[in-house]
């Protein structure tokens, strides 16, 4: 039992509980947001201090290595940007700010644990800690759309976790253990004994695991919740959901599949599943996004498409694919957060998420419009934004693995996606404004928007800053 290894999560949960308790006794609710943001410095400091550590504790339930620390750092960064940008938005539910921030922190704690467990039970618990907090957050607003989004997310999320559990039950039944490294040993023994496919139960379990995790990262065919939930949820939560939840889902997939099922006889099979699902995800996401008039809904479909791009990296087995996926996630997180923070600022003023209402936004608020346009350009993958580098690394990894057909589909999809992203830019820059009023924004929101936009630019020009870390992080995979 080494509590030092668990310190980032412990301190995060401690802050969340402090926020809940303080909320009951103080009247000035703004203090809670400040405590949440400044409190996040503690777990971030612990994470940095732990960098380079490589050991397991709590009988293998907690694995601390550079891979898990990379994701902890990513999720803590996302969380702090989301909290910074929620301060204006939180006026809509002024009385319940304490719960809002505490639930975000608890959810972040669950997402962080997802990336750092080497064992099926704790993966499930961490996943549910994150999901249940998110169900409550999605239905946080008083309007019927938000409750409806929460209901859909909760029902589909619960079904998907039941499917995931059945998959875990079969994997446990065949291998007799829930520890990923012991599962790998057992699977290796089955392979060398030539009896791997004597019983289809293991294959069935693996397919169910892909289904359960696929829901988390919003890939086809488990994507139907995405547009509705993205539209109905409070905008900062949509941002959190689209990047943090996806990052943690990818972390779990990488760890489970490379650790437990990494042996070459199986990995070729699941890589093919990811390749096919990825190709379908990007195509469906990008084609349906063209028809959307609501920008949150459009970014929802774009998030499905990006799940497809990420799965190209998953299909490209090997270090290049792994580090490419990690870099892609960091770049996608910055670009998507930048877009959503700009949307939060604009919708606070005009009270609408329709793309048509953004007309002439560049004249009303040049800085926010430029940040939004730059984020969208990054999502297309045009240099100098980080999106280009991210796609470049993933496509390169896929070509090295002879997945040329997949890269062609992905490149074609990037071209399709340019149409609907650039349409928003065109509405903002070419169309006539409906009013001349500028868009107000608070200091915390400006700070978070600046961090996201500068991050997109810096990583686009100097990708090595994060790519080094990503290569370090995936070095632990066999």
């Amino acid at each position: 039992m080494n509590f030092w290894l668990l310190s980032p999560e412990l301190s995060l949960v401690g802050i969340a509980l402090t926020v809940i308790l303080l909320d009951l006794f103080i009247q000035q609710k703004k203090v809670l947001a400040a405590i949440s943001v400044f409190g996040l410095i503690i777990p971030i400091a612990f994470t940095i201090a732990l960098w380079g550590e490589n050991q397991a504790s709590f009988s293998g339930m907690l694995v601390v290595d550079n891979f898990s620390l990379f994701f902890k750092f990513l999720i803590l960064g996302i969380t702090s940007l989301v909290i910074l940008s929620s301060m204006d938005y939180a006026r809509k539910f002024a009385r319940f700010q304490g719960e809002y921030y505490a639930l975000i922190l608890l959810s972040a704690g669950g997402l962080m644990l997802m990336g750092s467990t080497g064992e099926l039970i704790s993966i499930y618990i961490a996943l549910e800690l994150a999901s249940i907090s998110l169900y409550a957050l999605v239905s946080f607003l008083k309007d019927p759309k938000s409750s409806e989004a929460g209901l859909k997310y909760m029902i589909l999320g619960a079904i998907s976790s039941a499917v995931l559990l059945l998959g875990m039950a079969f994997v446990f039944g065949i291998t007799g253990t829930t520890h990923l490294d012991q599962i790998a040993d057992k699977v290796g023994a089955l392979v060398s004994g030539g009896q791997l496919w004597d019983s289809p139960a293991l294959l069935f379990g693996i397919v169910l695991l892909i289904a359960g995790f696929g829901f988390k990262i919003a890939s086809v065919p488990f994507q139907m919740w995405v547009p509705d939930v993205y539209e109905g949820a409070p905008t900062p939560i949509t941002a959190f959901l689209s990047v943090a939840s996806k990052a943690a889902g990818i972390a779990v997939i990488l760890r489970v599949f490379y650790t437990a099922f990494g042996i070459a006889e199986i990995s070729a099979d699941w890589a093919m599943i990811f390749a096919v699902l990825g190709a379908i995800s990007m195509t469906i996401g990008n084609v349906v996004a063209i028809a959307q008039s609501n920008i949150k809904r459009m970014l929802g479909y774009s998030s499905i498409a990006h799940a497809g791009f990420l799965m190209v990296g998953l299909a490209a087995i090997g270090t290049l694919g792994q580090s490419g996926v990690l870099f892609f996630l960091a770049g996608y997180a910055l670009a998507n957060l930048g877009a959503f923070i700009a949307i939060i600022a604009i919708s606070n003023k005009i009270g609408s998420d329709e793309i048509a209402d953004y007309s002439g936004m560049a004249r009303r608020s040049p800085v926010i419009s430029f940040a939004l346009a730059f984020s969208l350009i990054s999502l297309i993958g045009i240099p100098p934004a980080v999106g280009f580098m991210a796609k470049f690394f993933i496509f390169n990894a896929a070509i090295q693995q002879d997945l040329l057909w997949l890269v062609l589909i992905a490149a074609l999809n990037s071209v399709i996606s340019a149409y609907y992203y650039l349409r928003v830019v065109k509405v903002m820059y070419v169309n006539e404004p409906t009013s001349e009023e500028p868009i107000p924004s608070s200091i915390p929101l400006r700070i978070s928007l600046a961090i996201a936009s500068i991050g997109v630019l810096v990583l686009g020009v100097y990708p090595w800053l994060v790519l080094r870390l990503a290569e370090n992080a995936v070095a632990m995979f066999p």
Partner: protein
């Protein structure tokens, strides 16, 4: 003929299928929640059966422990789910999921 693991797995599979069918086909949100509980309990049966039959002599009770965790998490999920259903009911006086269609596209 004696009772083997396959009987428990068949029971679990039947229960899981009933739950999945109900969760996808029913219209009442509360009934859907109940169907999800059936699915989770089907998994519990499979877990405990695997644990009991594959590792009968060990003191390691992984499957049973897993089942206990699933039960507690299911309770938390049901609590949040019911709370969401209550807010939906207050908004529109109905828990029919077919009427929850504000967003389309």
């Amino acid at each position: 003929m004696s009772l083997g693991i396959e009987h428990y797995l068949i029971l679990s599979a039947i229960l899981f299928s009933i739950g999945l069918y109900g969760a996808l086909a029913k219209r009442n949100a509360v009934v859907i929640l109940m169907c999800i509980e059936i699915m989770l309990n089907a998994v519990n049966i499979a877990m405990v059966a695997f644990s009991r039959y594959l590792m009968p002599d060990t003191v390691v009770l992984t499957g049973q422990v897993f089942a206990i965790f699933i039960m507690t998490v299911a309770a938390a999920e049901a609590a949040v789910g019911l709370a969401i259903i209550i807010t939906i009911y207050r908004n529109r006086r109905s828990v029919d999921v077919e009427q929850a269609d504000l967003m389309r596209g």
